[in-house]
C-alpha cells in the first residue's frame, strides 16, 4: 500500500471577484505521476501555488508525509521537498541559465563558481535530456528552452514532490516523450510528480492517476488504467469532444499568393544567424503549417514577417506590396496580424484592462476614437462583444489581463488579432495551454479566417494540430526549411524525423 505524500483537504482560495478553489481535495501518493486536469480557469495553477507556499489558502489543510504543514513561503515548501515548474515562467531574464538554477540555494560557498555550477547544470541536463547552454542568458532562449531551465531548477533542488504546470505545452512530441521518461524515472525513485496538462493523450500515457477539477471543485480522482481520453474529456467539460482533420468548406486558392517570403536571413538576439535564406509562400485562404522543435528559428521567422525583427537579407511582400524590414507598423498596414509565442509580454499589456488590450490595434480607427481621443463607451462595447464571442472568462472588461488564467489570456489576444481583419495571420502556438473546449474554438477561428481568404501561417510544435489544420506542412530545422509537403496524407514518421534534422532526401528515397 503506497503512502500518501501530499494530502490537501477542503482547500478554498478566493480572489477579488472569483473563487479560484472552492473546497478542493487532492491526494498524491509517493512514487506516482498524478495528473491534474481541468478547463482554463478551473483552479489548477492556484491549487499548485498553494502547495508551493506562494498562496495561502483561505480554508483547508495541507499534509506532507502525514504531517500537517502550513507553508508561509516557497522556502518552507522547498524545504519540505516541494518544487514547482510554473506555467508563467519564473526566471530572471538577464541572468544566465546557471545563475537562475542556483538562485536561492541555501548553504554553498560565499562566492559563486560559474564553472562549477555550469558543470553541474550540464550534468543534470545530460542526465535528463534537457539540452541547454548553461552560460546563455534567459532572454536569448526560446520559450521551449526556458521551460527546460525551469525543469532543471527544480531537479537541481532535488525536490521530492514536483509540480509541473503545463510543462509539455512548449515541447515537441519527441521532447515530451523524453520528459515523460524522466518523470517516470523520478516516480520510480519514489518521488511524486504532479503533472498539469490539457493534452488528454499525454495524461493517458504518463499518469498513474488523474484528478479532474471543474469550476474550482474536485470532480473526482480516477485510475488512469480505468479511464479513457473520452472519459476524461467528458469529466472535464461535462460533454464529449473530438478532434478530426478539419474539412474546409471554402478551400485554399493557391493561385493567388498573399504572403511571399523571399530568401530571408536574420539573426537571433545573440546576433548569430538563425534564419538561412528562407523562402515560402502562403496562398489566399491557405493554412501553411510550420512544424519544428522549439528554438529552430520559428520565433525569429514569425518576428521577421510581422516586422518585429529586421532581416539581414531577403524580401517579404503581402500581395505585391513590400513589407519594410523591421517595421511592425508597416507589417500591420500591409495586413499582417501576429499572435506571438510569448503572450503576456509581446502580445499584451499585462497590467492593462481587457478592454484596453482589445482596443490596442484599432485605436486609430474612427469607431473607437474621434479627433485622436478614445471613445470609452465604444471601447467597452467592442470589448463586451468580443469577450462574449470568444468566450473569455473574466470578471469584467476592466480586469487587468494578467489576472486571467493562461487560457483566457490567449483568448483575449486572439480576439484582438482576428478582429483586425488581416490578410495574413501569423499564429505562433495559438492553442498552447488552452483546454479542449478553447482549442476547439481557436481552431474554428483559424479555419473560419482561412475560409474568408486570410492566408494563415501556423507555427506550432504540436504536430497533431498542424496535421489536422494545415493544407501544407513546412518543416523547420536549424533555421532552414527542410521539407514542404501537402498535409493531406502526410507521413507523420517522416515529418517527425525531419524535425529532428534527418536528411529529407534520404528519408524520401
Amino acid at each position: 500500500m503506497s503512502q500518501s505524500a501530499v494530502r490537501m483537504t477542503g482547500i478554498v482560495k478566493r480572489f477579488p471577484g472569483v473563487v479560484a478553489n472552492d473546497g478542493v481535495d487532492l491526494e498524491i501518493r509517493a512514487g506516482e505521476v498524478h495528473a491534474l486536469l481541468g478547463e482554463n480557469g478551473a483552479g489548477k495553477s492556484t491549487l499548485s501555488n498553494i502547495l508551493t507556499g506562494l498562496y495561502r489558502p483561505d480554508e483547508g489543510t495541507v499534509e506532507v508525509d502525514g504531517e500537517q504543514r502550513v507553508f508561509s513561503s516557497p522556502r518552507d515548501a522547498l524545504e519540505a521537498g516541494i518544487g514547482m515548474v510554473h506555467q508563467h515562467f519564473r526566471l530572471v531574464a538577464t541572468f544566465t541559465v546557471a545563475e537562475n538554477v542556483v538562485l536561492g540555494e541555501s548553504g554553498g560557498s560565499l562566492f559563486m563558481n560559474q564553472d562549477e555550477v555550469a558543470t553541474r547544470v550540464r550534468e543534470l541536463s545530460d542526465r535528463y535530456g534537457l539540452a541547454v547552454d548553461p552560460s546563455a542568458r534567459i532572454w536569448q532562449l526560446s520559450v521551449g528552452e526556458q521551460q527546460r531551465v525551469e525543469i532543471l531548477k527544480v531537479l537541481y533542488r532535488g525536490a521530492k514532490v514536483l509540480i509541473l504546470d503545463e510543462p509539455t505545452a512548449v515541447l515537441t512530441p519527441i521532447e515530451a516523450r523524453s520528459l515523460f521518461a524522466t518523470l517516470r524515472a523520478m516516480a520510480d525513485e519514489g518521488r511524486s510528480v504532479i503533472f498539469i496538462s490539457h493534452k488528454l493523450g499525454e495524461v493517458m500515457s504518463v499518469s498513474d492517476r488523474v484528478t479532474v477539477l471543474r469550476g474550482g471543485r474536485t470532480v473526482g480522482t480516477v485510475n488512469t488504467s480505468e479511464t479513457s481520453t473520452r472519459g476524461l474529456a467528458s469529466m472535464m467539460v461535462g460533454r464529449s469532444v473530438e478532434f478530426e482533420r478539419v474539412v474546409r468548406d471554402n478551400p485554399a486558392d493557391t493561385s493567388v499568393t498573399v504572403l511571399r517570403v523571399d530568401e530571408i536571413s536574420a539573426n537571433d538576439d545573440r546576433g548569430r544567424a538563425s534564419l538561412h535564406d528562407i523562402s515560402l509562400t502562403v496562398g489566399k485562404g491557405e493554412i501553411v503549417g510550420v512544424a519544428g522543435v522549439a528554438g529552430n528559428g520559428q520565433r525569429e521567422l514569425a518576428e521577421v514577417i510581422s516586422g518585429m525583427r529586421a532581416s539581414t537579407s531577403g524580401r517579404i511582400s503581402v500581395g505585391d506590396e513590400l513589407v519594410k524590414s523591421g517595421k511592425a507598423r508597416s507589417a500591420i498596414a500591409r495586413g499582417i496580424a501576429h499572435v506571438p509565442e510569448d503572450r503576456l509580454h509581446t502580445g499584451l499589456a499585462a497590467s492593462h484592462s481587457v478592454e484596453d488590450n482589445l482596443a490596442l490595434k484599432n485605436y486609430r480607427t474612427s469607431t473607437i476614437s474621434k479627433f485622436r481621443l478614445l471613445k470609452r463607451r465604444a471601447i467597452r462595447e467592442q470589448a463586451t462583444a468580443l469577450v462574449e464571442r470568444y468566450d473569455v472568462k473574466t470578471p469584467n472588461t476592466t480586469t487587468p489581463v494578467r489576472l486571467l488564467s493562461g487560457g483566457n489570456v490567449q483568448k483575449v489576444l486572439l480576439a484582438r488579432e482576428f478582429s483586425a481583419l488581416p490578410k495574413v495571420l501569423i499564429a505562433a502556438s495559438p492553442t498552447r495551454g488552452l483546454d479542449v473546449g478553447a482549442i476547439e474554438a481557436v481552431r474554428e477561428r483559424l479555419v473560419a479566417a482561412a475560409n474568408e481568404g486570410v492566408g494563415v501561417l501556423l507555427i506550432s510544435e504540436d504536430l497533431d494540430e498542424i496535421m489536422s489544420l494545415a493544407d501544407r506542412i513546412l518543416v523547420m530545422y536549424e533555421g532552414r526549411i527542410l521539407d514542404d509537403v501537402p498535409a493531406e496524407g502526410a507521413d507523420r514518421e517522416r515529418i517527425g524525423l525531419t524535425m529532428g534534422g534527418s536528411n529529407v532526401q534520404e528519408v524520401a528515397k
Partner: protein, 319 residues
C-alpha cells in the same frame, strides 16, 4: 603652472566626489533590490547633522571621535531609510511619493534644521574635522601626491567599498540573489529568497551610506553644520546611479566628474581665473538634468541595465 591647476582640480574632484559616491553607492544597493529611494537628499542631511552632533559631544582621541561621528551619521541615515523601507516595502506606498516625502520631511527646512537648532550645532565648527592625510609621507610627491596620497580616510575607505561592492554584487551568491530580487521578485520568491528581507536590508544599508555622505559635508567639506548644506548632492547621487549603470566602478568615476564640476568655481576663483561663479555652480545640476533626460526614456533605462522591478512593490498573490 598649467599642469598644477589640473592636479588641483583632480585632487579636489576626488575630495568633493567622495560624499557623492557614498550616497550613490547606497543608491545602487537600494535600487538593485528594486526600491527607488528619492529620499537621499533628506537622508544625507539627517546623517550630516547627527554626525556634527556626535563630533561635538563624543570625546576621546581624534580618531575615535571621527569614527564615532561617522557611525552615528550612518546610524541616523539608516533610521531614516528604515522609515522609507517601511512605507515602500511593507505599506507598498508609491515609492516616488514616499521618497519625496522623506526628502521634504527630513530635508533643508525640515527635521535636519530642527535638530540643528535643538542640538545647537548650527554654525559651530566641529572640533575634530575629517582632514586629508599624508599617506606614506608621499603627499608632496609631484602630481600623484595630492591626487592619491593626500585624501581623507573616508576617500580611501570608499575605494575599498567600491571594490567590495563590485565583488558583492557580481561575484557572490548573496549579490546574485539581491539582483534577482530587483529583476524579478516573483522568481526570487519562488526560489525561496525573502524579497522583503533583501529589500529592507539594502534600503537601510543604502540610507546608512547616504548618512556617511552627509557626515562628509559637515565634518570634512565645510566642516561646520550649515542648514541645507548638501545643496542637492542627494539628487546628483540619484543621477549618478543611472550614470554609472548601477555599477560601483563607473559610478565612482561619475562621482569624481561631478565632484570636479562642483569644485571648479572655487578652485578657479582661488587661482584668480575670472569666470562667473553662478554658471559654474549650476554646472553639476545642468549635467544632472541632462543625464536624467538622456537616460530616462524607458528604452534607455532597460538598455542601461536598470533593475526590471525598480519601483514596483512586490505582492505575492498578484499576477
Amino acid at each position: 603652472m598649467n599642469s598644477n591647476i589640473f592636479v588641483i582640480i583632480i585632487s579636489s574632484a576626488i575630495f568633493y566626489g567622495t560624499p557623492l559616491f557614498y550616497a550613490a553607492l547606497g543608491g545602487i544597493l537600494t535600487e538593485r533590490s528594486g526600491v527607488l529611494n528619492l529620499g537621499v537628499e533628506g537622508t544625507m542631511l539627517i546623517g550630516g547633522v547627527s554626525g556634527a552632533w556626535a563630533c561635538l559631544h563624543i570625546g576621546g582621541s581624534a580618531w575615535f571621535t571621527v569614527t564615532m561621528s561617522i557611525l552615528v551619521g550612518a546610524l541616523a541615515g539608516g533610521l531614516v531609510s528604515t522609515l522609507l523601507a517601511f512605507l515602500c516595502i511593507t505599506l507598498k506606498t508609491n515609492q516616488t511619493v514616499a521618497g519625496l516625502a522623506i526628502t521634504i520631511f527630513a530635508g533643508a527646512v525640515g527635521l535636519s534644521s530642527y535638530f540643528a537648532n535643538i542640538w545647537k550645532v548650527a554654525k559651530t565648527p566641529v572640533p575634530r574635522p575629517i582632514r586629508t592625510m599624508d599617506v606614506f609621507g608621499l603627499a608632496d610627491t609631484p602630481v600623484l601626491g595630492p591626487i592619491l596620497f593626500r585624501q581623507t580616510s573616508l576617500t580611501y575607505v570608499s575605494w575599498l567599498l567600491a571594490i567590495v561592492a563590485t565583488v558583492y554584487l557580481f561575484r557572490t551568491r548573496v549579490g546574485l540573489q539581491l539582483r534577482a530580487v530587483g529583476e524579478s521578485p516573483q522568481t526570487a520568491d519562488a526560489m525561496g529568497i525573502s524579497v522583503i528581507r533583501y529589500r529592507y536590508i539594502h534600503t537601510i544599508l543604502g540610507g546608512a551610506l547616504a548618512g556617511i555622505g552627509g557626515v562628509f559635508y559637515s565634518l570634512a567639506i565645510v566642516p561646520t553644520w550649515v542648514d541645507g548644506m548638501t545643496k542637492g548632492a542627494g539628487w546628483i547621487a540619484i543621477a549618478l546611479v543611472i550614470f554609472g549603470f548601477w555599477r560601483p566602478s563607473l559610478t565612482l568615476l561619475g562621482a569624481y566628474l561631478f565632484g570636479a564640476l562642483q569644485s571648479l568655481s572655487s578652485t578657479l576663483k582661488a587661482r584668480g581665473v575670472d569666470i562667473s561663479g553662478d554658471i559654474l555652480d549650476a554646472l553639476p545640476f545642468i549635467m544632472t538634468i541632462v543625464v536624467l533626460v538622456l537616460v530616462s526614456s524607458r528604452f534607455a533605462h532597460r538598455r542601461l541595465g536598470a533593475p526590471a522591478a525598480l519601483g514596483v512593490p512586490y505582492e505575492r498573490e498578484e499576477r
